[in-house]
Amino acid sequence: MVDTPVLEAIGVSRHFDVSRPWLQRALNREPRRFLRAVDNVSFAVPRGTTLSLVGESGCGKSTVARLSVGLYEPTSGDIRFEGQDLAAARADSRLRRKMNMIFQDPYASLNPRWRVRDIVAEPIRAFALLSGDAAITARVGELLTQVGLAPADGEKYPHEFSGGQRQRISIARALSSAPDFLVCDEPTSALDVSVQAQILNLMRDLQARLNLTYLFISHNLAVVRHMSDALGVMYLGRIVELGPAETIFARPLHPYTRLLLEAIPDIERVGTPRTPVGGEVPSPIAPPPGCPFHPRCPLANDRCRSEKPAHIHVEGVDVACHAVQEGRV
């Protein structure tokens, strides 16, 4: 029997209405305007693995993260959690508690007016997983210990902790509902590198110990490489390349993936000059026609400028590129 993926997205799109207020629109005879934050995205996260989505700001990766836990509803397409429609799964508290989220900003993700013990206990109380203050206190202490803090830290307020410690609290809260699936939205990008290493190590230890499934969102390819089993590269709301992380890092196919890999400064490359690719990410409100990457792509031809590339399968990797399909790479 094939295990169903923990999370599966099938042709998911999410558009945001960014029109101006109707009065101004009516006066200036403007049409409504939509931002296609996520455009026809499909992926699956098998149990116990990590799928990372990587891309630059505005590529839609954080929107995918929020769609995956039901903070947004998709405009079209299906998201399935444990084989069930996500909205239905979230209506059932036994399934809802199996998903949780870790956020980017350790200074905004903890309510400054709450004690740490109440922050960590909130999911336990919300799902009535334990009853009685003593049992909850014991469990909170256990969770804090698990993420490398002391049970006594529960008495303090978030401002008494450093960024890395706050991220540990955030992880403890996410774990307190005993989830299977965690969406991690840039969990280390606000942290210093040595602290980032602590958090990444912790997350991998926890994954191994608790058999967690991660959807990991990041803009940092080196972090992604360290964490992922599978990798999706996003550009302007679309996944342009999706496949096993090692394959993509060893043999990037899409020109954008190559650009990203080329653009990352790396300490292994002391003094190596890079040849940066020019251009900037276009506005997702008015994306270019055809392949959204064509204005910056060194391989673009007429077909790329007019026709949106479909996903093709190349040795285990899904890629959306005419040049790859035509063998021009």
Binding site: R66, V69, G70, L71, R90, S93, R96, R97, M99, N100, M101, F103, Q104, D105, A108, S109, L110, N111, P112, R113, E122, P123, A126, F127, S170, R173, S177
Partner: protein, 301 residues
């Protein structure tokens, strides 16, 4: 807990600001003398038995005919002005505090709702706020009072006049609270801690009350303080205009109105002392509010 408060930056900024300390002392003194006026006041201005018309229009003690037993003089009925001020302040403060409490409850509730729900609910509530803010607060209070007078039987109306004032002033002031709370709520709603609560399915009302509310109270506290001064003034204005509290229940405004009749016949103290008390009280409350605003503003720290 107390030790932590005295060690806090908040208390430190208070200790470093002489204006705030003096204002706080003045406000504290006024509140104490108002709250405990039945025990602290030298006379009971409402005890008709103790009033003696022979004592009417005595000047304050520092003038030639003054007596120390009526330190700030007496009015046309022989009432001690100081005692009347203490009792009057009590009534003025009661109306002010209750009005602010009413405005706060309505304003916070609707502000939270508008900021959290957004969309049409927000648009509707904020248009109401806009419309109301385009009328002077005192006009709205007069309107509410007028409606109450027309709708309620006279006798009943007199008995509940204090509550009518509270509602009238409160209705005139809720939009400020609503607007501020809505703005802060919109900021907080986008914060990740609110998203964390939404992910685990905490109901919206509980998110508003237990997560967002404690984080938007700072600015509310500042507005409440600044508006308390305003509410006391509104009450005084209404009473001065004769639509406020009746002479049987004299507030500072009523005292000023009564005394106003004698201002030009030489008995200035009947109106000047209540007026001064009102001015000093409102000024101190406002200075305290200004300091509070700066102390709670993280950008000025």
């Amino acid at each position: 807990m107390l030790a932590r408060f005295f060690d806090s930056d908040f208390f430190y900024s208070f200790r470093r600001n002489p204006v705030a300390m003096v204002s706080a002392a003045v406000v504290f003194m006024i509140i104490v003398s108002a709250v405990f006026s039945p025990w602290l006041a030298p006379h009971n201005p409402f005890d008709l038995a103790s009033l003696n018309l022979l004592d009417s229009f005595k000047p304050p003690f520092f003038q030639a005919d003054g007596e120390l037993s009526y330190p700030l003089g007496t009015d046309d009925q022989g009432r001690d002005v100081l005692s009347a001020i203490m009792y009057g302040t009590r009534i003025s403060l009661t109306v002010g505090v209750l009005a602010i409490a009413f405005a706060m409850v309505v304003g916070i509730g609707l502000g939270l709702l508008a900021g959290y729900a957004g969309g049409a609910v927000d648009a509707l509530l904020m248009r109401i706020v806009d419309v109301q803010l385009s009328f002077p607060a005192i006009l709205i209070a007069l309107l509410v009072d007028g409606i109450a007078r027309a709708a309620l039987p006279r006798e009943f109306h007199d008995r509940i006049q204090l509550w009518v004032l509270v509602v009238a002033i409160g209705i005139a002031q809720w939009p400020q609270f609503a607007r501020t709370v809505r703005g802060s709520t919109m900021v907080e709603r986008g914060r990740e801690y609110v998203m964390a609560a939404r992910v685990i399915g905490i109901p919206s009302v509980r998110i508003m009350l237990s997560h967002i509310l404690p984080n938007v109270l700072g600015p509310v506290l500042v507005i409440a303080t600044l508006n308390l001064g305003l509410a006391v003034l509104s009450e005084a204005t209404l009473s001065f205009l004769g639509v406020g509290l009746p002479p049987t229940q004299p507030s500072l405004g009523t005292l000023i109105r009564i005394g106003n009749d004698f201002l030009f016949s030489g008995e200035w103290w009947v109106t000047i002392f209540p007026g001064l008390t009102l001015a000093v009280m409102v000024l101190s409350i406002n200075l305290l509010g200004d300091w509070l605003r700066d102390a709670l503003n993280p950008r000025l720290r």
